[in-house]
């Protein structure tokens, strides 16, 4: 194919010929000679169609946001010598190249093997198709090129970033009969001391409280608080109207990071965790235990993109029919509309314990624009409105107003652990 340079030069020749003949000037006609000679030299040099095989290897096909992945391309020339081969590996957006380059120029001799490598860091979770590779052979004068596409795609699944919330006490407040790590305010086997009672035959000797026995002069046994497991349902508000900010730092992406972190933390303490995502469709993961459940939740979140205009009330309907009624509800929403408030009030009315983790959309938006006194004033008003709304909401639920410039763990520090009395 001819390049724009070749087309421009041919246009210049045509123009000069026309001028020369219209002006009847041999001097003007002479001026086409260097251009025609250049085009002539260019016609001798060729840009052979690249005949190469490409093999792609990636250091991992599943990763998390912010983790490095090395991509290697092995290029084998199966055809004649290519004086200038441009290799361009087509990368989707949100993948930053931190080392090496996916775009190079090479000279390839017949049967020559070249390896190119680069390192990418995904900025947003999702499933990415890397490739195909565009191969463009040029002749050195820049007049012609030939293109081929090397179909060697790679698939990369990027999980959301997980924040460290190990020290945060977010646990289900109502427990089930099964053993777990949540203190239940009931007697049973556990590690937390609950009370003393008279020794009864059959009590384990190691539970005898020897100090109290010595003081009272009769055998006394320690009683412990039973540790049980509970259910937590995480609800992610990923509707279009809840999306604020650039993709990598949007309220939806922040919400997803919060959901994964909380799910990991709650599953770690042997509780069941379920997930409901409200986006274009309402999809959910039923509560289960263990690490596999975390993978299920991450898989469900990997493909989540903000979308859909459904009212938030549908969540109540799904919760009421398909999920345990004594589950702890954790809603992750930027609380941008009035329906979210109604839903939370409604859930409390149904007897659910509700915790709201709200990535602050005002702060997300503020971070996008430079400092300006008028904008500062406007955002101050918005902050006051939001604080007032959250204050109203606190009569129905615990609300964590998360400023995304701080770690999630800092925001969750204020969450009161069990026991809670209403």
């Amino acid at each position: 194919m001819r390049t724009t340079l070749a087309v421009g030069l041919l246009g210049g020749v045509v123009l000069l010929v026309a001028i020369a003949f219209l002006a009847r000037s041999w001097r003007a006609l002479v001026l086409i000679v260097p251009i025609v000679l250049y085009l002539g030299v260019g016609s001798i040099l060729t840009a052979p169609a690249p005949v190469v095989t490409i093999t792609r290897t990636m250091s991992r096909d599943r990763t998390a946001v912010g983790q490095e992945v090395e991509v290697r391309l092995r290029i084998v020339n199966e055809g004649p010598r290519i004086p200038s081969l441009e290799v361009f590996d087509n990368l989707p957006g949100n993948l930053d190249v931190v080392k090496g380059r996916p775009h190079i120029h090479l000279e390839l001799r017949p049967r020559e093997v070249v390896e190119m490598a680069y390192v990418i860091v995904p900025q947003v979770k999702g499933e990415y198709e890397i490739g195909p590779v565009l191969l463009r052979a040029r002749e050195p004068l820049g007049l012609r090129y030939s293109e081929e596409i090397g179909y060697s795609e790679g698939r990369l699944v990027v999980a959301p970033k997980m924040e460290d919330v190990r020290k945060v006490r977010v646990v289900p407040r109502r427990v089930r009969a099964l053993m777990g790590q949540v203190r239940s305010r009931q007697l049973g086997t556990g590690l937390e001391f609950f009370s003393l009672r008279e020794y009864l035959p059959g009590d384990e000797i190691r539970h005898v409280n020897w100090k109290a026995t010595a003081r009272r002069d009769r055998l006394l046994t320690n009683e412990y608080e039973a540790e049980r497991s509970g259910d937590a349902i995480l609800i992610l508000d990923a509707r279009s109207e809840s999306e604020v900010g650039p993709v990598a730092r949007s309220t939806t992406e922040l919400g997803i990071a919060a959901v994964v972190s909380l799910a990991s933390k709650i599953l770690e303490t042997r509780n069941r965790v379920g997930l409901i995502v409200q986006r274009e469709v309402l999809d959910w993961v039923y509560p289960r235990y263990g690490k596999k459940q975390l993978y299920r939740i991450v898989d469900a979140l990997v493909h989540v993109r903000a979308g859909g205009e459904w009212p938030f009330e549908h969540v109540t309907w799904v919760l009421g029919r398909y999920f345990p009624s004594d589950a702890q509800i954790i809603i992750v929403s930027p609380l941008r509309d009035a329906t979210a408030l109604d839903v939370i009030a409604d859930l409390r009315g149904h007897g659910f314990d509700v915790l709201v983790v709200s990535p602050n959309p005002v702060e997300v938006e503020r971070a996008m624009f430079p400092r300006d006194p008028y904008a500062d004033l406007a955002y101050r008003v918005l902050r006051i409105e939001r604080e007032s709304m959250i204050q109203n909401l606190r009569q129905f639920a615990d609300v964590v107003d998360w400023n995304p410039s701080e770690p999630l763990a800092v925001a969750l520090k204020g969450v009161k652990p069990y026991p809670r009395r209403r």
Partner: protein, 192 residues
């Protein structure tokens, strides 16, 4: 460095048009022409700095109009000078194209490794071959100059127009040829 070279060439080639424009007697016409050439310089500078070779089309046309047009028909400069200027414009466009093709790739290399060295070698070779081709074009033009000194051909405007149309047609046919005739011959020879 490539961008600096292209920018330098754009500024250097602006000198003849400015000299031609400075010779215009009417002040308003002179000012208007100078403004167009200045605008062309800006477009050329943009093309070289932002690696947009298409933006240099305007620069080429403006330089050609004021540099070549005036030198051909007003100040009547010698033909070797005109040829040198045409080769200069050609070189500017070739350099801008090469800057756009290789510049971003070369600029993106943060560390010196085998791939970076190979890419640089390919870019340098392309520039070298282009420079050689430009030298051949200029030298060949000077060599062919005596052929054009012969007073021959028709002076009839209609005949001239017909001849021009035929030449244009021939060039366009050459332009749409899928491959170079030399290459096809070589391939046939290999098959035999």
């Amino acid at each position: 460095m490539l961008r600096g070279l292209a920018l330098g060439l754009v500024l250097l080639l602006a000198v003849p048009p400015f000299l031609e424009v400075a010779a215009i007697e009417h002040p308003n016409q002179r000012l208007g022409a100078a403004a167009i050439v200045a605008l062309a310089v800006v477009a050329g500078a943009y093309a070289s700095v932002r690696r947009r070779p298409l933006a240099a089309r305007f620069t080429t046309i403006a330089y050609g109009l004021f540099g070549l047009g005036f030198a051909l028909f007003v100040s009547v400069r010698p033909v070797p000078f005109l040829l040198a200027y045409v080769v200069g414009l050609l070189g500017m466009n070739v350099l801008l194209y090469q800057v756009a093709a290789y510049g971003p790739v070369l600029a993106a290399f943060r560390e010196e490794d085998a791939i970076a060295r190979r890419t640089r070698a390919v870019a340098l070779r392309s520039l070298g071959v282009s420079g050689l081709a430009l030298a051949v074009a200029y030298g060949g033009s000077l060599a062919l100059l005596p052929l054009f000194a012969v007073e021959m051909g028709s002076t009839d405007p209609l005949a001239a127009l017909g001849l021009a149309a035929a030449l244009v047609l021939l060039l366009m046919m050459l332009a749409v040829l899928p491959e170079s005739p030399f290459v096809r011959e070589r391939q046939q020879w290999r098959l035999r």
